[in-house]
């Protein structure tokens, strides 16, 4: 080994002078996500969002505890007898709060549907798609309700509420889009005049 070689060998670290692209880790992390998407990962959530989430979570917990206490205070025999009647069980007897929420949401949904009807969409593709989606949600809701009769838990209840919220969101979006279109039409009319 000559001096040249010795010099290189003894200065090995100096040959590691180049830096990889800063974004390379992002690429690797993205590929890792593809491979193991279900891993527990720490995602940064903005602090305001965190507060919102905490508030919602707390409200939900309080709600659940309330329901639980109420449920326990009910005459279980009576409840079970009613459940055994199966089929069209009334929510009011078991979960009055949920029944109330259901009524409220149903009212909202009906109101939005009426509003939507004003746009004369009957027979259009948009209309049939919306209806299809809503009826799917309705079916899912009924399944959840059945599930609640046999296996009452918080998850089922929150899923039911979410189902109702999705319907309202869907209708709201539709209405929003239709309003936008109408606005544009109005503007164009204005221009022509």
């Amino acid at each position: 080994m000559d001096k040249f070689e010795k010099y290189i060998r003894s200065h090995k670290e100096a040959f590691d002078s180049e830096e990889p692209n800063d974004l390379l880790w992002e690429k690797i992390a993205a590929k890792l996500d593809e491979k193991q998407p279900a891993q527990k990962q720490v995602r940064l959530v903005p602090i305001t969002k965190l507060w919102q989430m905490a508030a919602v979570f707390t409200a939900l917990i309080v709600c659940m505890i309330g329901l639980q206490i109420y449920y326990n205070s009910q005459n279980k025999q009576k409840t079970i007898a009613k459940i055994e009647n199966a089929g069209n069980i009334s929510l009011e007897s078991i979960y009055p709060e949920l029944a109330e929420a259901e009524q409220f949401y149903f009212m909202q949904i009906e109101q939005k549907r009426q509003e939507l009807k004003k746009y004369n969409l009957a027979g259009t593709k948009t209309d049939s798609e919306t209806e299809e989606y809503l009826s799917e949600l309705d079916k899912a809701y009924k399944d959840l309700k059945k599930e609640l009769n046999t296996n009452s838990n918080e998850l089922v209840i929150s899923e039911m509420v979410r189902n109702l919220q999705i319907r309202i969101d869907l209708l709201n979006q539709q209405l929003e889009v239709l309003k936008q279109i109408e606005k544009i039409k109005e503007e164009q009319k204005g221009k022509k005049l």
């Binding site: 000559d2 040249f4 290189i8 060998r9 690429k27 890792l32 990962q41």
Partner: protein, 198 residues
């Protein structure tokens, strides 16, 4: 010259450059085995630079080096469960990196410069002994000169002098004879010194 089969353990022992983190690594590696993304990033931060330079020396191209580095880390995180502390983690990782880099270069079907079998590869070039003033070459200049070498020269030279492989091991991983490895090395060294003299 006869190529005898070497045990991979012998190969590992030659490649232990990055051992200083070994102990503090254990916890991080354990977390990596559970798929902890933060721990994986820790490992990446520790080794990315050194491994990137290995990739760069073998592929000779920054884009290819980054692709190889990415691939090697993905392989390493996938295979990390099989890592059993039998060698320093850095050495284990480096083996994966070198393999990935060589696979990349093989796609190019690089050629080793033709060898005249009569060439005196045993010659350790004493008549070309490096003058003292040449010792003042900065490593950076030498690094840049290495980058200018043709694929075959650059790979053999880097593997031998910087990655710590011996000719036996180089012959094995490149699928060439030991004598080819030696002659490539010596010719690479001469070529390198020519470049540096310019």
């Amino acid at each position: 010259m006869q190529v005898s089969v070497n045990l991979s353990t012998a190969k590992m022992s030659k490649v232990v450059d990055i051992t200083q983190y070994q102990n503090s690594n254990e916890q991080i590696i354990l977390r990596c085995k559970r798929g902890d993304r933060k721990a994986q990033y820790e490992i990446y931060k520790l080794y990315a630079k050194a491994m990137y330079n290995v990739c760069l020396r073998i592929t000779g191209d920054t884009l290819e080096a980054e692709d190889v580095l990415q691939e090697a880390f993905l392989i390493a995180f996938e295979k990390i469960e099989t890592y059993r502390n039998e060698a320093a983690f850095g050495a284990w990782l480096k083996k994966i990196v070198v393999n990935a880099a060589l696979n990349q270069v093989r796609k190019r079907r690089f050629q080793f410069a033709d060898i005249d079998s009569n060439e005196d590869y045993e010659d350790e070039s004493p008549h070309e002994a490096i003058a003292t003033e040449e010792m003042s070459y900065q490593a950076e200049q030498i690094r840049k000169a290495i980058a200018q070498l043709p694929d075959g020269f650059r790979i053999v030279f880097s593997l031998y002098l910087l990655e710590g492989y011996d000719h036996q091991e180089i012959a094995e991983i490149l699928g060439i004879s030991v004598s080819t490895s030696k002659s490539q090395y010596n010719r690479a060294k001469k070529k390198l010194q020519e470049i540096l003299k310019k």
